[in-house]
């Protein structure tokens, strides 16, 4: 049936892999869809681990002066929870969406550099494994000269300096052992993965758009991918250098962030948040994109103010580089800087507000179909608004000096990153489920998932606002009974378990529907963008012929006209069009040449964690093996016969 051209006979020493099924097809794949799916599963796996860590934290805090966890274990758990959720869960889940959808949304056959794409995925996987191997190889202990009553257990031998790794606490003197090295080097490896995919996506969006897909016709999700890629490309180098310094401080006796040698601990804060604040938008903008796809589809109306939403997204990304010091209002920055960064932080509320109002404008007057994706998108707006408003209270610098480092902040950013990013992500997971698997998910279970999660989420993070204002500081292993904080802490813990339950419902739905779900039509939502004009599940070649895009929401306009009143009217030809599209999509008329799979991305990627271990164990041998793997991977990569087109 397929007319995919076989790879040519090769005269190279290495034959390119050719399996299409089985484990090797996944290990050697360069197909953006397979890579996207692998990103998704890997990220979800880490999401579960990060969730378990959160539950453990919540058990510890459910009563005052609790001893469920030791201090070392608690500190390791909150550090790993933050690091995991940010770098190993939300970022890669977003990467899963980018990978799977980006080429489909711009009508391309794959990303610009398919092998680089596979490389970023494998580097991410090895980075995640490297970071988590700290539980086996890592060590942690009391600061130099301090005493512990008991040995640090395996649970405590993980990074314990916080995901923000403030210096000098995260330095060798105050965080001895290798755990924080696993953190610094692990983030470095994960950063490389994200950087490579950023180059790839930027190039893809600029150069791989199908005929007629001008910039201002691109779906908003593609736009947000574009913005996120720029944010990654320009913020990751900063943290990479800062992490370099940390690694040198910890391993080679330098003192970039240590006062003793002339260094400056506050410089770390500046560098970290110069990356860290754009990072927040790296986490949330993909969800903005998803919601901007889901709302118009289920409202049966175009996005209200497309241009404004796109420019607001880029405005947020741009201003996001100028507000970093609002994480440091209580730190040693000057009064003028406090005022300046307070004001710039207020400014960022404006484009964010524009987005929210435009989303409301989109659903206003629509014909809302309340399927699960739509529920999550609506929930996203509701929850994100709360996070945004508490964010404005942080820009009031004096008020922020009361709120900073308390649970009020924890509440704020969970409303943004869970109520915002995660709700958006779940919306997207349900929305594109039929496209990816060719099956429908179970709507009832989906709705149960939504309501459980909404309730659990608000029970967990709503009271945290109050706890913070009542003086519960962050990263607190215990709180005194006299602080009277127990009641709401118990509620929070109950909420956390309700969230966990909702995740179980989600998993049941996913597994069941993927096996036994109803067969999905290829346009189940009567959608607007061109990824719905191809069969479900997506054929390996994506588009059998390159689409020629004539307008924004091209697919919708091929199905619908507008009458005099401006109401949508289904074209009489629409039904036949869908039948034709399915027929064409499954049976390409011309030869299709896809990029060949390759062994080398995984070979090259496997060298990086070895370099990490080499630093940690001070082993030249490991470094040599790592360099050999990287070089041989690169050599194979460079000499591998090129694929015959994209």
């Amino acid at each position: 049936m397929t007319k995919i051209l076989e790879p040519k006979k090769q005269n190279s020493i290495f034959r390119r892999p050719s399996s299409e099924t089985g484990i090797w097809s996944w290990i050697t794949t360069v197909d953006h869809k397979k890579i996207g799916i692998m990103y998704g599963y890997a990220a979800f796996f880490f999401l579960l681990i990060g969730g378990l860590e959160a539950l453990v934290l919540r058990i510890q805090l459910s009563q005052p002066d609790n001893n469920f966890l030791s201090a070392a274990e608690y500190n390791a758990m909150f550090t790993m929870h933050g690091t995991t959720m940010i770098f190993l869960a939300i970022m890669p889940i977003s990467a899963a969406f980018f990978n799977y959808l980006l080429p489909l949304q711009i009508g391309a056959r794959d990303v610009a550099f398919p092998r680089l794409n596979a490389l970023s995925f494998w580097i991410f996987i090895f980075g995640g494994i490297f970071l988590y191997s700290t539980f086996i190889f890592g060590t942690a202990g009391a600061p130099e000269g301090g005493y512990l009553d008991e040995e640090v257990s395996w649970l405590g031998s993980a990074p314990n300096g916080g995901w923000f790794g403030y210096q000098p606490n995260a330095g060798l003197k105050y965080s001895p052992g290798t755990a924080m090295d696993f953190w610094a080097l692990g983030l470095q490896i994960l950063g490389i993965a994200s950087l490579i995919s950023a180059f790839n996506f930027i190039t893809t969006i600029i150069n791989m758009r199908t005929k007629g897909m001008r910039f201002m016709r691109m779906p908003v999700f593609t736009w947000m991918t574009f913005a996120v890629s720029f944010l990654l490309a320009f913020s990751l180098p900063i943290i990479a250098i800062a992490l370099f310094y940390v690694t040198f401080d910890r391993n080679f006796g330098t003192s970039f962030f240590l006062v003793e040698g002339g260094g400056d601990p506050v410089l770390w804060q500046h560098l970290f948040w110069l990356f860290g604040h754009p990072e927040v938008y790296i986490l949330i903008l993909p969800a903005f994109g998803i919601v901007s796809e889901v709302l118009p589809t289920f409202s049966r109306k175009p996005l209200f103010g497309y241009a404004a939403i796109v420019f607001a997204g880029f405005g947020i990304a741009f201003i996001g580089f100028g507000v970093w010091a609002h994480h440091m209002f209580a730190s040693s920055i000057s009064t003028v800087a406090q005022a300046g960064f307070g004001l710039s932080t207020m400014v960022i509320a404006v484009p964010t507000g524009v987005k929210i109002f435009n989303w409301l404008g989109t659903i206003w007057g629509g014909k809302l179909k309340l399927n699960t994706p739509m529920l999550f998108s609506l929930g996203f707006i509701g929850m994100f608004v709360i996070g945004g408003l508490s964010g404005v209270t942080h820009s009031i610098v004096p008020a922020d000096t009361q709120q900073t480092d308390t649970y009020y902040i924890v509440a704020h950013f969970h409303y943004v990153l869970f109520g915002g990013a995660m709700f958006g992500i779940f919306s997207g997971l349900y929305y594109w489920f039929p496209k990816v698997w060719g099956k429908m998910y179970n709507e009832t279970l989906g709705k149960i998932h939504f309501w459980l999660m909404l309730i659990g989420f608000n029970l967990t993070f709503g009271p945290m606002h109050w706890l913070g204002l009542q003086g519960q500081v962050r990263r607190t292993w215990v709180y005194a009974k006299e602080t009277n904080l127990q009641f709401w802490n118990v509620i929070v813990t109950i909420g956390a378990f309700i969230i966990a339950l909702s995740i179980v419902v989600f998993m049941i739905n996913w597994i069941f529907s993927k096996r036994n779900g109803e067969k999905a039509p290829f346009d189940p939502w009567d959608a607007r963008t061109i990824e719905w004009s191809i069969p479900s599940p997506t054929p390996v070649w994506n588009f059998s012929t390159a689409p020629n895009v004539k307008s924004l929401d091209d697919f919708w306009h091929s199905k619908y006209d507008e009458d005099e009143e401006g109401r949508a009217v289904r074209k009489p030809t629409a039904d036949q069009l869908l039948i034709d599209l399915e027929e064409d999509g499954l049976n390409p008329k011309e030869e299709i040449i896809l990029p060949n799979p390759s062994y080398f991305p995984i070979v090259l990627a496997s060298g990086l964690p070895l370099l990490g271990y080499a630093v940690i164990f001070k082993s030249i041998a490991l470094a040599v093996v790592g360099v050999i793997l990287i070089l041989s991977g690169s050599f194979g990569w460079g000499t591998e016969p090129l694929e015959e087109g994209h």
Partner: protein, 194 residues
């Protein structure tokens, strides 16, 4: 990149791989930008101890800088030779470029050793640490460049020779090499002259 099966796309006029290279170099600017900015911050610190100005030898570094600059020239010559499809000359100029890069690296190693003898070591103080990390990071880039040049040279030895379209593309290596050279001009000014 073959034209026979070209998948139609909105034409931006920039070749995809070249575009990717430019994006890569723009993040490299941020890598070096961060290093240079922090270096300047540390340099301005009022901290007692040995400083770079106590150990450096400007004439020596000027010469090695000149060597690196010349390598940009030979790189251009290699590119020109390839454009007129002169395989022999291309290889010669590539090798010359790699050699000049290697001479620069040797100079850097010599310089570092001298500094170490004078008590200006990696972990001495913030001035020495930031110096070694900054120039070392650049040195690593030069090293990678030399490896790339030598592999190009190696590929050029094979039957088909080099082309401007082939996978290991001379043009990209040239872009990278010029970038590394320009960065050095900035570094030399910031680290040694200011």
């Amino acid at each position: 990149m073959s034209t026979a099966h070209a998948y139609p796309h909105e034409d931006t006029g920039v070749e995809t791989r070249k575009l990717g290279m430019w994006v890569f170099l723009s993040t490299e600017i941020l890598f070096f930008g961060t290093l240079i900015t922090t270096f300047m911050i540390f340099k301005g610190k009022d901290f007692p101890g040995i400083k770079l100005t106590d150990v450096y030898d400007i004439p020596f570094t000027s010469i090695s800088s000149f060597v690196l600059l010349m390598s940009s020239l030979t790189m251009v010559l290699a590119h020109n030779a390839l454009e007129s499809d002169d395989q022999e000359k291309t290889r010669v100029w590539l090798l010359a470029t790699a050699m000049l890069g290697a001479v620069f690296l040797a100079g850097q190693i010599y310089e570092f050793t001298e500094f170490y003898h004078k008590g200006f070591e990696l972990d001495t103080n913030i001035f020495s640490s930031s110096f070694y990390v900054l120039t070392g990071f650049h040195g690593l880039h030069v090293f990678i460049g030399v490896v790339l040049l030598l592999s190009l040279w190696g590929i050029g030895q094979r039957q088909n020779g080099l082309t401007l379209e082939s996978g290991m593309n001379l043009e990209f290596v040239a872009l990278y090499w010029h970038f590394v050279d320009i960065v050095w001009i900035v570094l030399f000014t910031v680290v040694y002259l200011i």
